[in-house]
Every structure is written in C-alpha cells, then in structure tokens.
Subunit: 366 residues, 2 copies
Amino acid sequence: MVETNTNWRSELDDPEAFRAFAHEAVDLAADYLAALPERPVFQRMPPQARMNLLEAPLPETGLTAGTLLDRFQSEVMPYPMGNGHPRFFGWVNSPPTAIGIVAELLAATMSPSCAGGDHAAIYLERATVRWLMELMGFPTEGSMGILVSGGSMASLTGLATARQWASHRDGWNVRDDGACGGAQMTLYVSSETHTTVIKAAELLGIGNRQVRIIPTGADFRMDVAALETAVIADRNADYRPFAVVGSAGTVATGAIDPLDDIADLCADHNLWFHVDAAYGGPGVLDARVAHLYSGMDRADSLAIDPHKWLSVPVECGCVFVRDGTLLRQTFSLVPPYVQVEEGKGIGGLPWYAEYGFQQSRGFRAL
Amino acid sequence: MVETNTNWRSELDDPEAFRAFAHEAVDLAADYLAALPERPVFQRMPPQARMNLLEAPLPETGLTAGTLLDRFQSEVMPYPMGNGHPRFFGWVNSPPTAIGIVAELLAATMSPSCAGGDHAAIYLERATVRWLMELMGFPTEGSMGILVSGGSMASLTGLATARQWASHRDGWNVRDDGACGGAQMTLYVSSETHTTVIKAAELLGIGNRQVRIIPTGADFRMDVAALETAVIADRNADYRPFAVVGSAGTVATGAIDPLDDIADLCADHNLWFHVDAAYGGPGVLDARVAHLYSGMDRADSLAIDPHKWLSVPVECGCVFVRDGTLLRQTFSLVPPYVQVEEGKGIGGLPWYAEYGFQQSRGFRAL
C-alpha cells in the first residue's frame, strides 16, 4: 500500500523510528544475501519492470519510509547486476561484502565531508592511505595519497600532477597558462592500457593525438625499445614528452608491464612515471608473482582501486603521489569560506580538498 | 578486546552472522543519533585521539568484525565533523538523514556498478535524474544527466561538454587535438563564482589566466554589461570566448546571477551557458523567490548537488546537459571488454560510462 507523507519532516526523525526501520532494512538485506546463491547469476529485466522504474513519475508528495522500502524490495532488489553471486565472473567488480555494507551504514550515520578539518574521518583516511601504500610497497615518507571515486579519477589526478611537474621543470605553470602555455605535451601508453587513461588525457586538454600507443610484445607487455624510439622522435619534433603510463595488471589479460625498465627510461629521459595498478596492484602481495611488480615502487604516481580486488563497495579508488608537495601545488585553491587558521576551530591538517579535485568528499576511509 | 581473524574468509560470510552484526551496528547508529543533540556541536579532537588514528599500524592479521565495531565506537564515532547536530550552521553540508543512512546500507547490499547494463540501478538513475530536472524546471526532452561525486565534478563535466561543443562549432575536435587545436578559449565567471569552477578550468587545460573574473554589483550579482565588454574585447584579441558560468545561489551570500540576461548574452554571442546551482538550485521550489531563478531553464548545462540542500549523504552531485548527444560525444570511449550488442546480455541503454568521466560508478540514485 502506498502511504504518503505530506509533512515536511520525516517520520524517521525520531531516533526510535529510525532504529525500527533500519532493523527492518537489515533483515531485508540479510534475507537477500542468504538467497542470492540460489538465484540465477544474471537475468535481463522484464520490459515492464524496466518501464516501472524508467517512467516512474515524480511523486507529488513524500512517501513514507515503509512504502519506499516496499518498492525497493519489489522493484529494485530483484534485478541486481549479478556481481553478488558466487558464480559471477563477469568483470572485476567486487561483490557486496558484509563488513563493507555495515561500514557504509556507519559512514552515512556520521556523514562528514572529508574536504578536511579536525575530525576522525580525516585522520582515518590518512592512516588508510598509508596502509595502502605499505601494502603496495610504495614509499610513504614525503608521499601523499587521496581516496577518489575510482581508477579514472586516480589516473586523472596522477596525470594532472605529472603535467604540473613538467611545466614547473620547463619554467612555467600549467594551472595559470593552460595546456598551450608551453611545448605541446605527449603521453605514452601501451596498446593494452585502459581506455580511462586516454579519457583522462582528453579531459586534461592533451588530446588523444598526443597520446602515443606503444606496441606490446606477444606477452602483452609494453615494448620499451619502441617506447624509447617514440620519445626520441617526439622530442626531435619539438613535442614535450612528459609521462609514461605502465600497467600493473591490464584488465584484458592481466599483463604487467616491465616496470623497472620503464622507470629506468623515465629517469633517463626526464619523464613522469605513472602506474595504473587499479585492477592488478594487490597481486604484489602474492609471493609467487611479486617479482613481476619490480619497479612499481619507483612510480611518481600510482592508481589503485580498493573497490576492485580489495572488495570495498564502489566507489573507492586511490592515488598515491611520491612528491606530496607537488600534488598540493596541482590542486590547492581554497575558497574564502573555508580558509582556516592552523590550530584553531576545524582547522587541522592541510585539507584533502587541497590535494585533489573535489571539495566535498565522502567518508570512504571507513 | 582485540580479536584477530587469520582466516582469509570473513566470519560474516555467513548471512546469519551478518544479520546479527548489522543489527548491532544499527543499534549503535540509533544510539548515536539519539544522543547527538545533547553533545557539543563540535569539539577539536584530543591530540592522543588524533594520533591513535593517524599512526595506527597496518594490522599484521585481520581483525574480527566485533573488534572493528568496538574501535569504530571508541575511536571514530566520538569525533564527528559536527554536521549531524541540530545547531550546526557551519556550512552547506547535509546532516545525516535516516532514510539516506538506510539507502546507503541497501545500495551497498546490492553494490552494482552503474557504469551501465540492464539492471535496476541504471533505470532508477534515469528516473532520479529526470525527477531532478523536473524539480529544477530543466527541459527533459533530448537532455541527459548523470550523478557524479559533487559540484566540482558536475561543473567539470558541464565545461568539458562546452569545450567540445565550441570545438565542433569551429570545425575541430578538442578530444583529438587537445586544448591547443584551435583558438585559445576563454571562460567567464563572476567574482562570487565558486573556486571549484576555476579548478575545473585549470584541470581542463584552459588555464586560470583565460578565466575572466567579471565584477558584481553591490548585490553580488554578475554585471552583465561588464561581461559583454569582456567577451567583445577577448574576441577582438583573437581569443575564443566559449562559456559563461552563472551562479544560482553563490555560497558566500546566496546571490543569484541575472540568469535570463546572461542567457540572452550567450545566445547573442554564441556562448555556452553553464549554471552552477550546486548549492542554491532547490530554492527555485520556493514560490517567494522562484522569479529570481528565471532563465535557469535556458542553461546548456547545470550543476546541482543533492548532497547539499536535498540532504542526500555525501557524495551525490548531478549535472544536466541540454543536448544529451553532445554529452555522449564528449565522454564516450568504450573499452573492448564491455562492448555489448544492443538487446543482448547486460547491454541495455547506452552506458552511463559513455556520458561521464567515470567507468565504475556507485549506486547513488537510491
């Protein structure tokens, strides 16, 4: 039965009503998870069920929480993506995990903005990112990292920092002057690099014609000799080669680029080394294959997705930058209404909003 | 007591163990919300409590869920940002709302990726974005919108689309050629525009020197005569003026720019009109001030933040684009492993990943 709520307050503003309702939701969630293995992995939605959602009219009045839960149960819950099923092998999407579900509940209960400030979520994010660095073998001293929406944003953040660094090296500032303020920059990826990196280059205004697609060998790993040839040719043509993206686990085949060789080449040619470890990074924890990741710790920036192999609910990506000061120089622009004095009020550590693109930020660290 | 779990499986993999644990977490959350009004709005964290989080070592073994909940209760929950308190008037951050908390629990229980596909979360997002358009008075026919991490990403998406449009109008493609592929573009904001818009321009490679800061009158609204003068001067200097950002509610004073006048000017001068309604947009629903928003419906793109006045948990922003095809042209780049055939398998509607920067995307629509 559809019940409307014409009061501007929610009936759940009473904490005891919230308690009863949330317990009901937990039972629904637990029943769903218990029944999941007996369901098909995936079924296309019946046309009518699609239309019920697609064409649902904007309600004229509020609905009660009970009505919303009923509709969720009958119209949404029966049609999942499939990644919760034990036999879902479709892609790299994490299944829902019990501890992650509860963490989302508790994070929303506090609902802080992790733009910055002196509250627990901020310090927990600092620790969480450091733990991820330690797990990946990335140096922590002087480095800075930040949780983001996923691998796309992590690579965008890394490449934006790379471009900032290159402009500084060449005596200008890309934030001030824009992409046309110096020699045109070129980026190097392999034919197996994820398309999100190319989208990042496009968004940055680099242009996909300035993204060089380096061939791979039969093992799907980047051909470093071909990379060097391309870098030299571009420099001779007055481009400004600025960064190479190595993959630590390509999505299509799991290939890990020769990271040490790429790091050597970057050092020789004054290039930024970004590692896309969004998918495959945690493989370094397996002693049988850890040697394949040699050189990952030499990255100038690295993208890792806790919402893939680490089974954190979407969305949770992370980027590390070896020179934390540079990350701040790339993104710091503090709006007047949050300029704070150190040691006073909500001040605290330098704000995350200075180290990334977002201002308001969720409590992903939990 | 700290209990470790050295098994690689979680003790919560059993749905009944999850059920009991989640009920415990709900009681913790309900107790917290009930006690919140009696607490101080905000307190700085004691130095030791900060250090406990900041310097927490990466555990050598897993911890049990019970230990994690205990630590959350003693080390995190006592130190909120303050926005849950009834007397928090600090910024525009939503308080935690009961229905939002439960929605986060249920979204994580399904944990789909809303990159795309034929599952309920996708159709619900289509409906949710359409509802937001209807609430804001934005035309729905031919438009497209997408939920994003917040106002920063919403404005970045709008301005990326604006730049794409401008390059098409001028006979080139900024995705291919990069920001230097045509005349240097200039963007127009007011002195009250949020700094996130300037960060977006910097990230796009436009450069803040190409962002013209138009003065406001004593009412903090953009001076449209000064805007026109600036546009003409730039065109005469061989720049390519491409977009104007109007604010529908500035964060500092709530001023609403003269949107109709700006829309007229954009039409006259062949400019894209982006409205930043992230903070103040929902004010249009108040009949006493709705007239101030006149012209908002003429925007080519619009940013609105459900995680501000609409009390959705962070993170939830949204962008509308009047020409949905153009939004897709700006972002579509489909990785080989998700290329699908229409009407088969997980196919479904054109994927959200083609309409925005992210690939994996959370279930914000719930």
